[in-house]
Symmetry: C2
Subunit: 242 residues, 2 copies
């Protein structure tokens, strides 16, 4: 049987007014986004068993789109699926988190190296502004805002690298990394170091020094991962520890 359908008739002419791009999205996509958020924020705790019927009722949708959403999350490593078994939120060990940040560090090294020579002037200006703001937040000790902008800067650099597959790989790892970060809100001692690394990274990019940018990015992310993994390890031994 021929399963390849072909376009029939003349192609429809494009509308003159492209009609506001409302990103209408299917229920499965919405469900995936909501579930991802719930897992990252801990509303669905590590180790939780997800029963399809319960979850579908909770989200107000039927099992069909929910199952599709779970498959998407499984592809990102956010849930574990096994044949004829309920989905589970993985309980990542500190070792796995370290592995994750090792991968993330490697990928951010690549993006930094690629971004250095090919970042556009517009993005460079954007980055300059963000870096200045980050410094202010550091000076003002605005931890939450620093945290958020930090993430945004990393994403900007990934964008500047202009490599779609790498950006996708990066995004796929980010959810789990965010889970770990939220669970081990960085201690103040690392803050100084982090801020300095960010200044170095920006400097290397501004100088279009690919090797330096890559090295700094790698060290920065890996150090972050080590600290987070250590914090998780300590908290695992003594859950009350802050």
């Amino acid at each position: 049987m021929d399963v390849v359908a072909r376009r029939r008739g003349r192609p429809r002419k494009a509308l003159v007014v492209p009609a506001a791009q409302v990103p209408r999205t299917g229920l499965h996509e919405q469900a995936a986004a909501r579930l991802k958020d719930m897992i990252v924020r801990g509303a669905l705790p590590a180790g939780a068993t997800l029963v399809e019927t319960d979850l579908s009722v909770a989200l107000g949708i039927s099992r069909t789109p929910l199952r599709e959403a779970l498959k998407l999350l499984a592809a990102e490593g956010l849930v574990e699926l096994h044949q004829n078994r309920s989905a589970r939120v993985p309980d990542w060990t500190p070792e796995e988190i370290l592995e994750l940040f090792e991968a993330l560090a490697g990928i951010e090294r690549l993006t930094a190296e690629l971004a250095a020579p090919r970042i556009s002037e517009a993005l460079m200006d954007d980055l300059r502004g963000k870096q200045a703001q980050l410094d202010r937040m550091h000076r003002d000790q605005a931890l939450d805002a620093y945290f958020a902008l930090n993430q945004e800067i990393h994403r900007t650099i990934v964008t500047a690298a202009r490599n779609r597959p790498l950006a996708e790989a990066h995004a796929a790892l980010q959810a789990r990394a965010q889970w770990a970060r939220l669970r081990a809100l960085s201690s103040g001692s690392r803050w100084e170091e982090s801020a300095r690394e960010h200044r170095d990274l920006f400097g290397a990019l501004a100088a279009r020094d690919a090797a330096a940018a890559g090295t700094v990015a790698h060290r920065h992310v890996l150090r972050t991962g080590v600290v987070i993994a250590e914090t998780l390890q300590a908290r695992r031994a003594d859950p009350a520890a802050r």
Copy 2:
């Protein structure tokens, strides 16, 4: 509502004989595997429109598992899904293929760097054997076998890096890369070069020289990508060209 189910009753004791691990797998997974194969081999050509009903009949399954399979493939970039539109096999441009190999080269650099210090003796022996066999195939001009073993060696190195997230990212890119490789079966001129690079890579790994292994792996994959993208470009201009 509480959507988190918990284990009830006493845990069942593990079987003494763990019963042969038959990897029973759902229809959606099988469908995804078959479709991936069909796309990579070109049975579903680039640009093809995939109508769910037709595909499900062709595969002998219903639309439900088929839709789940399509979602999985979309996550790997093997099909494009748009709201209320039929799935489509993307028609990757040579530029996109080059981007893909740029990402792949970066990731394989990372895996080579990680593998150099941490590869186990067993895997090193395995690799030694494969490298010797590859040299024989090169000498005997056994192109197909060389091609297949080549891929296997790359996967082995990824395994040796012992980093799950990186391995997953690598695997996700591999399908599209394979699509490109099959469509631009490498010209003989590049063969010599490729064989030499493989010897260099093995040498660097054997010497546990991470930097060298990374550099060689990166150059090797990127060169491959450049040649493939150029071939695709030429063939696009003149489809009859061999």
